[in-house]
């Protein structure tokens, strides 16, 4: 019974950490739009947190700029998030760098450096698509916990 409660609690309370790696702010604005009352994330128990220690799902936006150490900083932040975790890349930039590909200022795409669980294309993707991928990540986490 306790195991069931823990499992239900884990699926009903996904906390999200938003990691920006150098986006043009398009995806970030869509994520903020998703936080409004129209999409009402709270009904799924979803909350945004500023501390990677508290997160279960990571939304990554941007194409990973070549600023000194930005790649290491991303890896460092991701290492601070306790397992089990799911990484969702939001926007074309994190998939292929989009309009910034071949730029001297870009170290990405993100897929080259880290393992991403769910890829969401779009420039920028719509808020309901982002919400759908978050719910997909919750399912993924549940399956992962069952497998473990």
């Amino acid at each position: 019974m306790l195991k069931k409660l823990v499992k239900k609690s884990q699926s009903r309370s996904p906390w999200i950490f938003h990691l920006r790696t150098g986006s043009c702010n398009g995806c970030d604005v869509e994520i903020k739009a998703m936080l409004g009352s129209k999409y009402d994330l709270e009904k799924y128990g979803i909350k945004f947190t500023n501390n990677p220690n508290q997160a279960d799902i990571i939304l990554v936006t941007g194409c990973l700029t070549s600023n000194s150490g930005s790649k290491d900083r991303v890896k460092d932040i991701l290492s601070k998030i306790p397992e089990p975790k799911a990484i969702v890349s939001v926007g074309t930039c994190s998939l292929s760098c989009g309009v910034f590909s071949d730029s001297y200022a870009v170290d990405g795409p993100l897929l080259r450096w880290i393992n991403v669980d769910i890829n969401l294309a779009g420039c920028p993707p719509r808020p309901n698509a982002i919400l759908e991928s978050i719910l997909e990540a919750v399912n993924l986490l549940n399956n992962r916990k069952e497998r473990d």
Partner: protein, 323 residues
């Protein structure tokens, strides 16, 4: 003390109105508050059980510590806060006039313990080694000082009112306030107590760290406020303390101003008590949260000095003139 009294004592501490009841009711109270807030915003909102889900999820995780933290204080502070908050429940007269430790000057003790969760969070933040800790600590201390002044004046005016014309000296117990109201009716009926009650109602969101006075513990502030340094199990403990504190602070408010017996059946009195507690939380937190915007620390301090402090002083003056 015979065996029945010992059993009653154990049941009171562990089950009702002790640890199990107060924690479950605290989480449900937090859930009701969130639900009412979302209804006021015309949203579906989270489930009433959401705080329980959050608590269970965090409790099932391990303890995560910041690398530069002073570990013993960082772990001890939230645990200490949880224990002292649970201890306060023993002073609140809910169960058939049953006080566990209500015979000495407990009002001073209650006043200190009400502020203890914030003090321990400040301690934990200081021990976290976080570079933003200084900002959060200074904000929390400024808020703590500014809202504790009217809080102290409210308690003084209530004690002064209750001991009016007393020949046996001043009694500083919650029991004396409870007995006075059972004898003469709830204190809210007295003209002198109305400003004090309004002032206390304004202070509840500040004591509980809720909007608009959540400046030191808000997700949208620098590095997410004072409880953001915690993760995993310790965050679960902080959430638990907050839930229990919801019940404690609102129960103290109801005990100070709204104590009355509806019938000779105890269960009915207890149900009425907790219905008033729920209404107090909805009015002072959900309603206020939905109609106010975020404010700066200067605005909050200025508000505490201009409104609750003035109201509590008016109450004290009215009590002096025996109104």
């Amino acid at each position: 003390m015979n065996i029945v009294e010992i059993l009653k004592f154990i049941v009171c501490i562990l089950i009702f109105p002790g640890v199990i009841f107060v924690s479950l009711f605290g989480f449900i109270l937090m859930g009701i508050e969130e639900k009412m807030y979302s209804i006021m915003q015309q949203r579906h909102g989270s489930s009433i059980l959401q705080p329980i889900y959050d608590f269970v999820k965090f409790s099932s995780k391990g303890i995560t510590l910041p690398s530069k933290a002073f570990k013993s204080i960082f772990i001890a502070a939230p645990v200490l806060s949880m224990v002292t908050t649970l201890l306060m429940q023993m002073y609140i007269p809910i169960f058939s006039n049953y006080f566990i430790w209500g015979n000495s000057s407990d009002i001073i003790f209650i006043l200190i313990l009400m502020l203890f969760p914030i003090i321990t969070l400040i301690l934990a933040q200081a021990a976290s080694g976080n570079r933003f800790a200084g900002i959060n600590i200074s904000r929390a201390i400024v808020m703590l000082i500014s809202f504790s002044i009217p809080l102290i004046i409210i308690f003084i005016s209530v004690v002064y009112k209750v001991n009016e014309g007393s020949e046996s000296g001043i009694s500083l117990t919650l029991k004396s306030i409870y007995d006075y109201q059972i004898k003469y009716g709830p204190l809210i009926k007295k003209i002198s107590m109305i400003p004090a009650a309004i002032s206390f109602l304004m202070l509840i969101p500040a004591i509980l760290g809720m909007s608009p006075f959540d400046i030191y513990d808000s997700n949208t502030e620098i590095f997410g406020g004072i409880s953001s340094v915690f993760g995993g199990f310790l965050l679960g403990v902080v959430k638990f303390t907050k839930a229990v504190n919801f019940v404690i602070v609102s129960s103290i408010f109801v005990t100070l101003f709204f104590t009355f017996l509806v019938s000779s059946i105890n269960i009915l009195n207890i149900v009425v008590f907790y219905i008033i507690v729920i209404i107090v939380i909805i009015i002072s937190i959900s309603f206020v949260k939905s109609i106010t915007s975020k404010i700066k620390i200067e605005q909050a301090v200025s508000f505490f000095i201009k409104v609750p402090t003035v109201l509590s002083i008016i109450s004290l003056v009215l009590v002096y003139f025996k109104l």
